[in-house]
Symmetry: C2
């Protein structure tokens, strides 16, 4: 009841779907969404990636700490055997086979049209729950190897979303708050905002701890090092 | 061997992925792709739609008759319980509850961002196999109720595809050859081209034969009637 004596509906917070792999980038993006006042819906896509189980455990814990309204995990077999991330047959580069200094090549961990597919799925979920935003962790460091992390990808996605929903729906908008940041900036920002970095899972593999050898681990380690923040994660 | 005595590689036909539900529209679109000289890859997405099993049977037979290079069927649980097409809880309108004359409303069979998600998945498969086109059955009759069948949807999708693939990939292009046609035009065109209309499955339900009562059946029946072509399908 307001002080004028009228019954008012409880204030409803706007909703945001947060596409979350359980890694550092998408977790910081979700933390930003929460900070902006959104009721957040964490959304995870399993597609047979080698770390699927570890990612899902991470997202489940992150959802709890960020007080998400809910966590929805979906699955597709679309990418099965189409990338070194999703097949036992292809070798996943580790150690010296990884060259995180060389941004010109797209690594064998490329998953065809992944952010297009995952962004579309997140948008579908956003339409279903009436969320006005889809937060993603796209960033400048990933963009060096993966074109679907770049600003022009987001700039072309949003106009398409306007034509993808029902006439009675408000089209969701993709927000990529980290799009111009590198890993060290993301670590600094995450630490400043109190993002649960200690719960995140970055490794491409599914060991008990991060392997410290794969491309994702190497990027993570360098990010913490350059930011001068202690990585709360254990490495094998 | 050419007549100049040189060994030449066998001519390689360009590839097209054909997003195919097993219904009339996408089957005619796939027939057009084949007629254009493409080696066709039929692609079906199961998402818990009530007719999933019947659709898959239809696509399998259609792939054989159209001499597709292969048929790939994938699945996702994303849409589960988000539409009258994918839940036992929601009523799927039949008979007089369907109003195919009234194009202004989006029916309860709307699946959030379906063509965005399915088109993205087909594009991912196209990138993976090196297909230059993705053929779809979008058409003017569906477009009256479903915005994601309209020309502006395709016009905004293709520029995004250019930014969705790896640096070493050629972005696939969505082709929607039926985009300005209504069902009766599609029936006429399909009959003229010899599309295997007798193998298609349009019904939203999964009975032994088409129910003749749901929205999809009503559109199909009217299409054949208006085209003056005998529908080779039995109705319950």
């Amino acid at each position: 009841m307001g002080d004028d004596g009228l019954n008012r509906p409880k204030a409803i917070r706007p909703k945001a779907v947060c596409l979350c792999s359980g890694g550092m980038d998408s977790t910081v993006a979700a933390t930003i969404a929460k900070g902006e006042g959104y009721e957040i819906y964490l959304f995870h896509v399993g597609y047979g990636q080698k770390a699927e189980r570890k990612e899902l455990e991470a997202v489940t814990r992150i959802a709890r700490v960020l007080e998400a309204r809910t966590m929805k995990a979906v699955h597709t077999d679309l990418f099965w055997n189409l990338s070194a991330l999703t097949t036992a047959k292809a070798h996943l580069p580790v150690g010296d086979e990884v060259d995180i200094q060389n941004p010109s090549s797209t690594p064998p961990t490329w998953v065809c049209c992944r952010n297009l597919v995952l962004g579309s799925m997140a948008a579908a979920y956003a339409e279903a729950v009436g969320a006005e935003k889809v937060y993603v962790g796209f960033n400048a460091e990933e963009a060096r190897s993966y074109p679907d992390n770049r600003p022009e990808f987001v700039e072309r996605f949003n106009p398409l979303l306007e034509k993808s929903v029902a006439s009675f729906s408000r089209p969701p908008v993709i927000e990529a708050p980290l799009i111009s940041l590198f890993k060290s900036d993301i670590v600094s920002l995450g630490a400043k905002l109190g993002a649960p970095l200690e719960l995140t899972w970055s490794c491409y593999l599914e060991g008990e701890t991060h392997c410290g050898e794969c491309e994702a681990c190497q990027h993570r380690m360098r990010g913490f090092e350059e930011a001068g923040v202690v990585d709360p994660t254990g490495y094998r």
